[in-house]
Amino acid sequence: MSEPAKGISRADVSHLAGLARIDLSEAELDHFAAELPAILEHVAVVQQAAGDDVEAMSHPVPVNNVFREDVVVPCLTPEEALAGAPASEQQRFLVPKILGED
């Protein structure tokens, strides 16, 4: 889990947009390449508030081991499950052709 970026380049913005599947125009790339570093600077101020003796935390309260028993609870019906799907077929979610394979 990487350190927060100190700066952010236009190439970084383009890379992040690709990962997020957001299609940014050249003008938008320029815009965000200028805007995101400013946001990061503000965040950096907050990071300074915690001294080196304060560990980074992922959870707001120190609670461990929240488990449930291995017992079945009722599911959705297929009709309910598919109710919000833009398209379905054969009781399955229909999604567009997938390009990348894995």
Partner: protein
């Protein structure tokens, strides 16, 4: 597709040493999913085992299945791993329709189990495989690709997704690099996967069926020139679905890598797909920018901190270690070292054990699994446990032989019928009219005809040469199309002639 230059494995190994890494995914057999209470039954109608959590509907809150944690710890302990005192889940972010949250809940740098090892045996030699980690994650949904000519993704017009499998708990077991003598690499890889199957099957935490996908193996392989210490670029062959295929995938990749390196080329770091029919791999997907998974700690799930008391309690539930178990079984069964080694090498240890448990003698169980069943598996290019016949059925068929209802030859036909789905062994015998004839009336007539047809043999028996009965028994068996009780036939012949 480019034509690949393949170098025969033996030749490749004169110039290169293979370095392997194996990843095994184990689907746990918990009653419910990893983070929600949906059932996990195999083969259910599509999208009947889904809820807001595993469909990633807004506002849904995942909660960890305690049984899955318990199973993960037991697997870690069985692999001689350390169990983390505190660990978290992490989000592995990527977009793919079989993962509705757009991330997979997994573990990143804090696996629940780490630094283990197992010892596997090949041709009487023991090889230590170091385990880097065993971590918890969830399975994905299943996509059905429609419209493409081949059913693979390329060329598909759209995909249909069933999320029943999404969220089923998985344990991913990752080895450290495995460097063994090149000529043993493929066999060691196979032996390791087979060993892990037996080990985890023995824990009762998974069905460990490769043919049903509850155990899936990925084979990572690279070559380094002999004498070099620099690792080569590896390929990752995904979802190799049988023990035999693990072995073949290793051999194929050795040949393929050597072909590229011999010509001064570089191996692409990519995923490859293994093809069962041809024993070859084909290019899947090159590593790319999209593999930046941006792992971060899962904020919706509390960290897991198994107490040392709990870990020790679970350690106490572990079955005896495999080496101890094998020694005990060998003594119980009265197998020679060679018989035992063959049984393990064939991946038949558990099948033989279950068959004996179901009532067959050790030698009968070994005979069927290493003879008839191994031959069928070999012909079909399948593993023994995916033939469609269970240890219980083998034991039932042996019991029918012991009762004189069928003989070994007819038993083969009963196996055919059971595998073809014609019902229980009993039903197959009735359906195919396979029962041996031990009725003295019918047999007596056939014996009379055999004696009349071979007066020379008959005279020899009258003269006290009982060995001559073989010819007459053969004639009777032929007339009865094999469906005679040979022992009774012999008795009748001797009664009539002596």
């Amino acid at each position: 597709m480019t034509t690949e230059t393949l170098v025969p494995v033996d030749e490749a190994l004169t110039r290169y040493d293979p370095v392997m890494g194996l990843e095994i995914h184990i689907e746990l057999n918990t009653t419910t999913k990893m983070f929600c209470g949906c059932p996990t039954e195999f083969g259910a109608e599509p999208n009947t085992q889904v809820c807001p959590v595993c469909l990633a509907l807004p506002g849904a809150l995942p909660v960890v299945n305690a049984k899955a944690i318990e199973s993960a710890i037991r697997i870690g302990l069985a692999l001689n791993c350390e169990i983390a005192e505190w660990c978290r889940f992490a989000r592995k972010n990527y977009f793919y329709p079989d993962m509705p949250k757009n991330f997979q809940t997994s573990q990143y740098d804090e696996p629940i189990a780490f630094d283990g090892h197992v010892d596997v045996e090949v041709d009487g030699e023991t090889y230590r495989i170091d385990i880097e980690r065993a971590h918890m994650e969830e399975d994905t949904g299943k996509s059905l690709h429609v419209g493409g000519s081949t059913g693979r993704i390329h060329g598909a017009d759209f995909s249909l997704v069933d999320y029943n499998r999404a969220g089923i708990p998985l344990i991913e077991i990752v080895t450290r690099t495995i460097e063994v003598p090149g000529d043993k690499a493929a066999a060691v890889a196979r032996a390791y996967v087979s060993y892990v199957r037996d080990l985890i099957g023995g824990l009762g935490v998974s069905d460990v069926r490769m043919d049903q996908g509850s155990l899936r193996a990925d084979v990572n392989l690279s070559l380094k020139p002999k004498g070099s210490t620099t690792l080569g670029t590896r390929s990752e062959t995904k979802n190799v679905n049988s023990f035999r295929s693990v072995e073949r995938a290793v051999r194929y990749e050795i040949s393929r890598h050597a072909g590229i390196l011999d010509q001064g080329g570089s191996v692409l770091q990519e995923t490859r797909h293994f093809h069962e029919d041809t024993g070859t791999t084909s290019s899947g997907r090159e590593k790319s920018d999209a593999d930046d998974y941006r792992y971060f700690p899962e904020p919706d799930l509390a960290p897991v901190s198994p107490s040392r008391e709990w870990v020790e309690e679970l350690r106490a539930t572990l079955p005896e270690p495999p080496a101890v178990r094998r020694a005990r079984l060998q003594a119980d069964w009265g197998f020679s070292d060679l018989e035992m080694r063959d049984t393990i090498g064939a991946g038949a240890l558990q099948l033989v054990a279950d068959t004996i448990e179901a009532g067959a003698t050790p030698q009968a169980a070994r005979k069927w699994w290493l003879g008839e069943m191994a031959r069928r598996a070999n012909e079909q290019g399948a593993d023994l446990d995916s033939l469609g016949i269970t240890p219980l059925q083998v034991a039932e068929i042996q019991a029918l032989i012991d009762a004189g209802r069928i003989n070994d030859k007819l038993a083969r036909s009963v196996f055919d019928g059971v595998i073809a789905g014609e019902g229980t062994p009993e039903e197959v015998i009735v359906g195919r009219q396979l029962e041996v004839v031990s009725d003295d009336g019918a047999l007596g007539d056939a014996v009379d005809r055999a004696i009349a047809g071979d007066p020379d043999a008959a005279q020899k028996i009258r003269d006290g040469k009982q060995a001559a009965a073989g010819a007459l028994i053969g004639a009777v068996m032929k007339e009865m199309r094999g469906q005679a009780d040979a022992g009774r036939v012999r008795e009748l012949i001797l009664e009539k002639l002596t």
